[in-house]
Each structure stands twice: as structure tokens, then as C-alpha cells.
């Protein structure tokens, strides 16, 4: 039996050695990324006494691992989304960049100019305020555009990384299958660790589901079921240009030459977060564009209602940008659509994109698109022959159609997307700022009555009005005389009677009384009243305000635009659907702010959840040095004991030999 004792001792030595190796391996790999704690189990020898075989396995709870991967995806989504929208938030909240400050300064400049309407310094100040405001608009717009491009670049990098990970996982799977049953040297376990680490990294990029296989490999799917790593092959992802907006890129998945487009919402992980954050940029840009257009148009219209330092009617201060409709790739016709903003309809402009669809070559449907690009509401329909111009007054847009579209052709219109960057100053010299009213109203100095005449407002100065360039048309009202019955008789420039307003009107709103309301707003395009007591024969004159450069009536109206509701709130039909410029910018900033705030809450929650599942996973699979230290002692002692067995076997044998000799 003594040889058996030696055999038992030797098997014990080898077994304990094996255990010591495992403990040593665990300690050494403490900081190895993806390492899973290993455990060696010894079995008794089934035939003889002593230790038989040993088996080393990873200590792993697959449920804990699966939960860790899912929580990793969720947190990666939230933190990548948060990081990107927080950047936008910083950009908008930064007062140095703030378009809100630009707007405030512009109006302050106008107030100063109104103090001395015929002075150069105030006017030059307004011009430089306009430029700095436009700079802020365009800087903000281009920063947002840059961020969009950066997001696309990041998406490209992420897709490359995903493809590498997928192919790595597939390679590791293949190796694992090959090594199946080829003995236990620990390599398979390390390969599994490596593969699981790749899968964990993949779960940072994408939301995935895994299916372990009996042969040790792991299949990876999207949450929607598409295969990412199948048996023996890996899918690859591709960034494809958007249609019709090529910058609005999307993701295609190809496996085995079959390609499918992936919806952004199902991606999850940091890739999904990048897409979600990128798609917040366009609505912000459109809102900024809407604000810029509404302001510019209102200023243009008001400036047109005044008189410049050159005794001319004012012109536009800003050039409103126009844009080209983007044709879809599938368009068969040669049609093209370009979009202009309609002058005077700035407060109808929405922060939305539009889709023009030709149901036949001549029938069109125009849909508004919401922030997600979905059609909202019922379409504006019409029939036209090309080329044509379609004025959408209710949207503040004018579409120019050219070429010949085919039935089914579609165009995407993005009127406000880059409007904030495309706005430019049309006003060349400070003199052209129309601060003065174009009309001078005077009560004759010899009037017996004490009535005074006052301008209630100028509403129109274009070709349809009573004004011509630098003058009041002779057919327009030039004077008012009180007749014997106290009626107000309005005369034109050649002495002809235009009309008579009854004494009972009290001289209020004479133009509306004579031309009708609201017709008077178009022609003659102004309104005035005579206040106070009048006597028959009293005369009042109206003339072009030539040289009335110290007048600031129109400048005051312009400055007052800051308090006016100019920007369309949303797709609302209620009467009170407009807000002021400042309110609009505040809404834009706080809209993004709310998203950031919400994203932060979600990120904090998902971080807590991730920590929890990390703890669960680590409590099972992580290495504890104290544990390993205690194991070391335990195994070392067992090893010493086994060595002692060998020693005993030796001394037993020696005793026997000595006894014999």
C-alpha cells in the first residue's frame, strides 16, 4: 500500500497546485478588463484513492451579466444624449452668444436713435447693433450646424467601432467553437472573457440581446431581433445619407448581402443617444430661424412705413433668405421648388418643415412636418400649371415651382432651418433708417376752431397706397375742410372732393369713414383723426413730411416692436398664438434646458441602476483579494500537508527498509 500513499500524496500535491494556480491567476488578473473570477473544483479519483480530475470554470451569473449589459446600454444612451444636448444648452445659455442680448441691444440702439432722429451717431449705432445681432444669429446657427456635423462624425466613428466589435465577437466565437472539448488549459475561459468584454463594449454602443449557445459561442441580436452576430458570421453597419436631406444620415445593417434600414429609435446605447441628440438640433435651428425671420420681416415692414433722411420712403432693413426645396431620390420629374418668405407675413412663419407631394403633375399637397418629420394636420391642396408661384399666406411662405414634376414626386422644404444664418443687412447707409413718419399733418394757423389733427398710423406705403417715392399722390387726401354743417370734407391734391365724413364722426378715423374699413389700411394706407372743436372753414393739410427729419414717429413704432407679439407660438389657431421676440428666444433656450434637465434626471437614474447591476455582477464574478489570500493560505497548507503525505510515504518505506536490513 505504501506506493499508493505516495500516489495519493502526489495527486494531492498536483491538485493543490492547481488550486494555487487558480488563486494566483485570480490575483494576477485583478485589474484585467473583462476578467471573470475563476474557480477550480477538484474531484476524487474514481478508481484509486487521492485526487482525481480538476475542473476550472468562470464564476458567472448570466442573469447578472445580461442585466449589466442592458443597464450599460441604457446608461450609455442617457449619458451620450445628455452630453450632446448639454453642449447645445451651454451654447444657448452663454450670454456672449445669446441672440436675446443681441435683440435687447438692437432695441436699445433704436431708442437712442429716436432721441436725435436726425443725428448720425444714433443711426450708426443702430446699424452696428444690427450687425452684431446678425452675427449672433449666424454664429449660433453655424455652431448648431457644426454640432450637427460633429454628431454625424461621431456617429460614423461609433459605427466603425461597432463593426470592429461585431467582427471581434464573431472571431472569438469561432475560436471558442474550434477549441470546444480540446482540454482545459484556461485559454477557452480567457477567450470567453475577451468575448464578453467585447460584448460589454458593444452594449455601450447599442442596445443588444444575447443568446448563449451550447458550444460556448454567443449570438448577438438587436432588441428588435435583427441578427448582429449569427452563427459563424457578423453583420456590419453602414452610415447612409438621408433622403432627401443627405446630412440627415441613417443606419443600414447588412448580413449575408441582405440590407435593412434601422430605425434610430431602436438603436439604443450611445449610438442611439447621439442620434436622439442630433435630432434635437434641427428644431432648435428652425425655431431660431423662425425668430430671426419674424423679427426681420417686422422691422422691414415698419421701416417701409417711414421716411428716410433722404426724403424717401423707407425700404427693407434685412434681406430675408430663400431656400431650395430638397427633391427626394425617387423623383421622376424635373420639377424644382424654391421657397421665399412673404413680406409682411413674418408672424405667420412656423418653425416647421414642409413636404410638397405632387399627386399628379399638376395637383399638389403640402403637409406640415412636426419635429419628428411626421405629417401633421390636413394638407394644403391645389392645382397649378408650371412654372408657378404658390403663396401660402397662412404660413408666410411663397413657393416657386419650376420644371415639370411627375406624379408622386416629393420635395422637402426647410425654410427656417438655416434662416438665422442666411439673414443679411440690406440697409446700406444709416440715412436709410426710416425713423420719421412719411406724413406731415398741420392745422392751418388761421383756424378759428382749436381742433388738432393727429396721425393714427401708417399702414401701407407700397404701390397700392397713396404714397409714391418721396411724395403723396395727388389723388390721395391732401386736405380736410370743415363745411358749414360741420362735416369733414376731404380733398385731393388738385382740389377735388374725395369724400365727406359726417360731423357725427367727431373727426375720428376719417380715412376709414371715407374709404371704408379695412380698405383704408391699403389705400391711402394711413389713418388720422381731428380732435377738438372745429369751426366751419377750418382747414387741415396733409403732405409728405419732406425734411421733417426730427420726427421719430416711425422710430418709436419700430422700437415698440419689442413689446409686440411677432412670433408664431406653434401650430395654433387661437387668436393669441403669437409671442414677443424675447419670449420666443426664452422659449427656445428653456425648451432645450428642459430637455437637458430631464436628460440629467434620467442619466442619474440609469447610473444608479447601472451601479446596482455592476455590484451584482461583481459580487459574483469579481475578485476579492482577502478571499484569495485566505484561499492561498488554505491551499498552501493543503499543499504542505500533501507534501507531508509524500514524506510519510518515504519514511514508511525507509522504516521498512531499515527493518529488513
Amino acid at each position: 500500500m505504501s506506493t499508493d500513499l505516495l500516489g495519493i500524496g502526489t495527486s494531492g500535491l498536483l491538485g493543490q497546485q492547481r488550486l494555487l494556480w487558480t488563486a494566483g491567476n485570480n490575483i494576477s488578473n485583478l485589474n484585467t478588463e473583462g476578467f471573470t473570477r475563476q474557480q477550480t473544483t477538484l474531484y476524487t479519483n474514481a478508481v484509486n484513492l487521492g485526487v482525481g480530475s480538476s475542473n476550472t470554470t468562470r464564476v458567472l451569473n448570466q442573469f447578472a451579466q445580461g442585466e449589466l449589459w442592458r443597464d450599460t446600454s441604457t446608461h450609455a444612451y442617457n449619458s451620450s444624449y445628455y452630453a450632446d444636448v448639454a453642449y447645445t444648452d451651454k451654447l444657448l445659455s452663454d450670454s456672449a452668444n445669446s441672440a436675446g442680448v443681441g435683440i435687447d441691444n438692437f432695441f436699445k440702439g433704436l431708442h437712442s436713435a429716436n432721441e436725435t432722429p436726425n443725428g448720425q451717431s444714433g443711426r450708426e449705432g443702430v446699424l452696428s447693433n444690427i450687425d452684431s445681432m446678425l452675427n449672433r444669429y449666424s454664429a449660433l446657427n453655424s455652431q448648431l450646424t457644426q454640432q450637427y456635423d460633429t454628431a454625424n462624425a461621431k456617429i460614423g466613428n461609433a459605427v466603425n467601432k461597432i463593426n470592429t466589435l461585431l467582427s471581434n465577437i464573431n472571431d472569438l466565437n469561432t475560436q471558442l467553437i474550434k477549441r470546444q472539448g480540446s482540454g482545459d488549459d484556461g485559454t477557452s475561459l480567457h477567450l470567453m472573457d475577451q468575448r464578453d468584454e467585447q460584448v460589454r463594449q458593444l452594449s455601450e454602443m447599442l442596445d443588444i440581446r444575447t443568446v448563449p449557445q451550447d458550444d460556448g459561442s454567443l449570438l448577438v441580436n438587436m432588441t428588435t431581433g435583427q441578427s448582429l452576430v449569427a452563427r459563424g458570421q457578423a453583420a456590419s453597419m453602414l452610415v447612409v445619407n438621408g433622403d432627401p436631406d443627405s446630412r440627415e444620415t441613417g443606419i443600414q445593417l447588412s448580413l449575408n448581402k441582405a440590407t435593412t434600414s434601422l430605425k434610430q429609435e431602436v438603436l439604443g446605447g450611445s449610438l442611439g443617444g447621439m442620434f436622439a441628440a442630433r435630432d434635437e438640433l434641427a428644431p432648435t435651428k428652425r425655431q431660431l430661424g423662425q425668430l430671426a425671420v419674424a423679427m426681420a420681416d417686422a422691422m422691414n415692414q415698419q421701416n417701409r412705413l417711414g421716411m428716410t433722411l433722404n426724403n424717401q420712403l423707407g425700404g427693407d432693413i434685412f434681406t430675408l433668405p430663400s431656400s431650395e426645396g430638397l427633391p427626394y431620390a425617387g423623383n421622376a420629374g424635373t420639377g424644382a421648388v424654391s421657397v421665399d418668405f412673404m413680406a409682411g407675413e413674418g408672424s405667420n412663419v412656423t418653425g416647421m418643415d414642409y413636404l410638397v407631394t405632387f399627386t399628379t403633375a399638376n395637383d399638389y399637397e403640402i403637409y406640415r412636418l412636426d419635429d419628428d418629420g411626421k405629417k401633421t394636420g390636413s394638407p394644403i391642396t391645389g392645382t397649378t400649371t408650371f412654372p408657378a408661384t404658390i403663396d401660402l399666406d397662412a404660413e408666410g411662405l411663397s413657393l416657386n415651382l419650376s420644371g415639370a414634376p411627375a406624379a408622386g414626386d416629393k420635395f422637402l422644404l426647410q425654410p427656417t432651418l438655416n434662416a438665422a444664418g442666411g439673414l443679411s443687412r440690406e440697409l446700406r447707409v444709416a440715412d436709410d433708417l426710416a425713423l420719421a413718419s412719411p406724413l406731415k399733418l398741420t392745422a392751418d394757423s388761421n383756424n378759428y376752431g382749436t381742433g388738432s389733427i393727429k396721425l393714427d398710423g401708417v399702414t401701407n406705403t407700397d404701390g397700392s397706397s397713396g404714397f409714391s417715392s418721396g411724395s403723396l399722390d395727388s389723388a390721395a387726401p391732401h386736405s380736410v375742410t370743415i363745411d358749414d354743417s360741420g362735416n369733414y370734407v376731404v380733398y385731393d391734391g388738385t382740389g377735388g372732393v374725395i369724400g365727406t365724413a359726417a360731423a357725427s364722426t367727431g373727426g375720428k378715423n376719417l380715412m376709414a369713414a371715407i374709404y371704408g374699413s379695412p380698405a383704408a389700411q391699403t389705400y391711402p394706407g394711413f389713418e388720422f383723426s381731428i380732435d377738438g372743436s372745429v369751426a366751419p372753414g377750418d382747414n387741415f393739410t396733409l403732405e409728405f413730411n419732406t425734411d421733417g427729419f426730427s420726427d421719430n414717429t416711425n422710430g418709436l413704432a419700430m422700437a415698440n416692436l419689442q413689446n409686440k407679439d411677432l412670433v408664431r407660438r406653434a401650430d395654433s389657431t387661437s387668436a393669441d398664438n403669437t409671442i414677443t421676440l424675447n419670449e420666443s428666444f426664452t422659449a427656445l433656450v428653456t425648451g432645450v434646458g428642459s430637455k437637458v434637465s430631464q436628460a440629467k434626471t434620467e442619466m442619474t437614474a440609469s447610473e444608479a441602476k447601472l451601479t446596482q447591476s455592476q455590484d451584482w455582477y461583481n459580487s459574483v464574478s469579481g475578485v476579492n483579494l482577502d478571499e484569495e489570500a485566505s484561499n492561498l493560505i488554505k491551499y498552501q497548507q493543503a499543499y504542505s500537508a500533501a507534501a507531508q503525505i509524500v514524506n510519510v510515504a518515504k519514511s514508511t518505506f525507509d522504516t521498512l527498509l531499515n527493518a529488513v536490513s
Binding site: G100, A443, N446, V592, G593, V596, S619, G622
Partner: protein, 405 residues
């Protein structure tokens, strides 16, 4: 629960990072003085802050506007009171003319003095503001408001426009007055005269006040004919007269004595026709003019006193005196209005100031930190960090390997 070594490290690291993150935030808040830096940290607070900032900026602008307006208005007030003083002393001079003891030489001296006053007034009416703009030319501030035309008459060259300044969201205050309103529309003396061809009647205004009242109530601007009267004499014992208006209604009647003055609504009418005859007269049509022209008229008269009879002189003086009094009324009104505007401005500026202040306070409450709170927070976080650091050191010393020797 089984704890892995890396979990311990990770947890400590996490808590160190969280604590130092909070410390950094506390420090940033203390340094910037803001509760939040971006809208994401407090969207509602940011929305309020932006709204309040716009309001504060607006009120600051209104205050700037108001301060400039204050100096504009006080300048105008100064000029208007100088004009008032000038008019007052001119009035005194005019009263001297009526002193019957004046010799022709005295009158001529008075004429010269009046000329000086007129020049001074002319100068004041053409005053400029500190920016070199004419005060009273309406919106044509580069044009001299009053100038002499070819006939030596003073004409107004500006317009009736006025400029307003916005001093609060809803209040805009008139910043200027036009000479058209103040000077040009001053009513001249209301008079009456014989109709053409009626040479046997003379009419003087004996009681301007009574006549003005009558004129005001009865003058019809729609038809000149209805402003005439007929003085009929009727033979009898005694002879009588009737004054009828254009409609034939008898307004006054009485005993007629040829050549004897009688009073009719402040007019002194002297008719000298044979009984049975009649004379017609009318209320003169109303005119407005600036006082410079009336002064020119009286100066011309005074320089050559012998050309007029005593009565005619009196009438000329009465003309200018009445016109002067109307002008002084208008200047007084303008002065009063300027003062009223300054009062309004003062109260608007005061309310702007307190609104700006309350907005600033509200903004501070929403967006600015409480210093004590912030400093306390900073110390608290510092403390937390050093505790976390110490714990980290302590716990990491607990390794079984340290006891294996």
C-alpha cells in the same frame, strides 16, 4: 453579500468623484454668484431670469431716455420762461403808450425800445437746443422757425410736428413744442368794421372783453354774410334806431341821435346819417398771427406818431395788446404743459426706478446665490471630500495580505 476588491475601489472612487464634483459646483456658484449657469440646470429659473433681464434692460433704457428728456424739457422751459419774461416787459411798455402825457418824442423812444424787445423775442423764438437743433421749428429742426419774408413780415418756416419719447412701456411724453402751436396760432384782436361803402359809421371796440364774448358766441365762420348787421334809423318823435342781424331780427333799438356813440356788445358805434338812412357793419373775420408782426405794426406807428390820430393810435395799441395777451396765454399754456410733462416724467422715472429695482430683486431671488448659503455649502463639500479621502485611505489599509508574513 460578497464584495469584490474592485468594487471597494470603484465605490470609493465614485464617492470621491461625486464629492469633488459637488465641491467644484459649489465653488463655481460662489465665484459666479449665479445659482445656475445654463438653462438645463434650472429651465424655469432661466426663463424667469431672461424675462426679468429683458425688463430690467428696458427700464434702464427708459431711464436713459427719460434723463435726456428731462434736460430737453428743462431747456425748453428755460427758453419759454425767458419768452414769457420778455412778453411781460413788452406788455408794460405797451401800457406806457396809453399814457396820454406821452410826447411824440417819448413815443419814438418807446418805439425804439420795443424794437429791441422784438429783436430779443425773435432771437428767443429761434432758440436752439444744446445739439444745435431749432427748438420751435417742429420736425424741421434744421430750419430756422421764424424769418422775415420779402415784405418784412415774420413767417413761420417749420412745421407743426412734435417729437415724443418713450419713457415707460406705455407712456410716451411729448419732447418738443412747435412754434406753429405756441406762436403762430395766437388770435389777433377781434374787431368790427363798416361794410364797404358805409362811410357814415365809425366803430370802435370799447370793451374788448364784452365784444370777445359776443364774437365767440355769434361769429359764424360758415357764411360771412351772416356776420353783418344793419343799423336802421327811423324817423319819429323821437327818432329811433334798430340794429338787426342778417336775418332781420332786431338786436337792439333806442333813441337815435346822429353822431352820438352808442354801445353794442362792447362796440362803440357812432352813426351820422339822415333819419331814415341805414348803415351796415360786420364782425371782422378771425385771424391768427405771431406777435412779432403785431409788434412790427406798432413800432412802425410809434416811429411816426404824427401820422395817426389819438383814436387810431389807441386802436393800434389795443390791437397789439390784445394779441400780446393771447400770445402770453399760449406761451403760458406751453410753459404749463412743459412743467406738467416734467412732473409726469419725474413720477414715471420714479416708478421705472422702483420697477427696475423690484425686477432686479426678483432676478436676484431667482438666479443669484445667497452668499452665506454658498460659503456654507463650499465648506460642507470641502469637509465631505476630506472625509471621503480619509475613509479611502483607512479602508484600503485593510488587506489580509498585510497580515501574512
Amino acid at each position: 453579500m460578497r464584495i469584490s476588491t474592485n468594487m471597494q475601489f470603484d465605490r470609493h472612487l465614485q464617492s470621491l468623484m461625486n464629492t469633488s464634483g459637488r465641491l467644484d459646483k459649489a465653488n463655481e456658484r460662489l465665484l459666479s454668484g449665479d445659482k445656475f449657469a445654463t438653462a438645463g440646470e434650472d429651465p424655469f429659473g432661466m426663463s424667469q431670469k431672461m424675462g426679468l433681464t429683458t425688463n430690467i434692460e428696458l427700464y434702464q433704457q427708459y431711464t436713459t431716455n427719460g434723463n435726456l428728456l428731462q434736460s430737453t424739457l428743462s431747456h425748453e422751459e428755460t427758453v419759454l420762461s425767458s419768452i414769457n419774461d420778455n412778453l411781460l416787459s413788452t406788455t408794460t411798455l405797451l401800457q406806457k403808450i396809453q399814457n396820454g402825457a406821452m410826447s411824440d418824442g417819448d413815443l419814438q423812444d418807446l418805439g425804439h425800445e420795443l424794437e429791441m424787445r422784438q429783436a430779443e423775442l425773435y432771437d428767443l423764438m429761434n432758440s436752439k437746443d444744446p445739439q444745435g437743433e431749432y427748438l420751435f421749428s417742429g420736425n424741421q429742426t434744421q430750419t430756422q422757425p421764424f424769418a422775415k419774408d420779402a415784405n418784412g413780415r415774420y413767417v413761420f418756416q417749420g412745421d407743426a410736428g412734435v417729437r415724443s419719447v418713450q419713457v415707460s412701456p406705455s407712456v410716451s411724453i411729448q419732447a418738443s413744442d412747435s412754434g406753429h402751436t405756441i406762436f403762430e396760432t395766437a388770435a389777433t384782436r377781434r374787431t368790427a368794421s363798416p361794410l364797404t361803402g358805409n362811410n357814415n359809421i365809425s366803430i370802435l371796440v370799447s370793451d374788448q372783453g364784452a365784444y370777445d364774448t359776443y364774437y365767440k358766441n355769434n361769429y359764424d365762420t360758415s357764411s360771412t354774410a351772416s356776420n353783418s348787421f344793419i343799423f336802421n334809423t327811423i324817423a319819429g318823435t323821437p327818432d329811433t334806431y334798430e340794429i338787426t342781424d342778417s336775418g332781420g331780427t332786431v338786436l337792439k333799438s333806442g333813441e337815435y341821435v346822429a353822431g352820438e356813440a352808442l354801445d353794442f356788445n362792447g362796440l362803440s358805434i357812432t352813426v351820422d346819417v339822415a333819419t331814415g338812412g341805414s348803415q351796415s357793419f360786420q364782425m371782422d373775420s378771425p385771424t391768427n398771427d405771431n406777435i412779432l408782426n403785431s409788434l412790427s405794426d406798432i413800432i412802425a406807428v410809434l416811429k411816426d406818431p404824427s401820422s395817426l390820430s389819438g383814436d387810431e393810435l389807441q386802436q393800434a395799441v389795443a390791437d397789439v395788446q390784445t394779441h400780446m395777451s393771447h400770445t402770453r396765454d399760449q406761451v403760458g399754456t406751453a410753459l404749463w404743459q412743459t412743467g406738467a410733462r416734467m412732473n409726469t416724467l419725474d413720477s414715471v422715472l420714479a416708478s421705472n426706478g422702483s420697477l427696475e429695482e423690484s425686477n432686479t430683486e426678483a432676478r436676484a431671488a431667482v438666479s443669484e446665490i445667497d452668499m452665506y448659503q454658498a460659503i456654507t455649502d463650499l465648506y460642507k463639500e470641502q469637509n465631505a471630500l476630506s472625509v471621503a479621502q480619509q475613509t479611502f485611505g483607512k479602508l484600503q489599509q485593510q488587506s489580509l495580505f498585510d497580515y501574512l508574513r
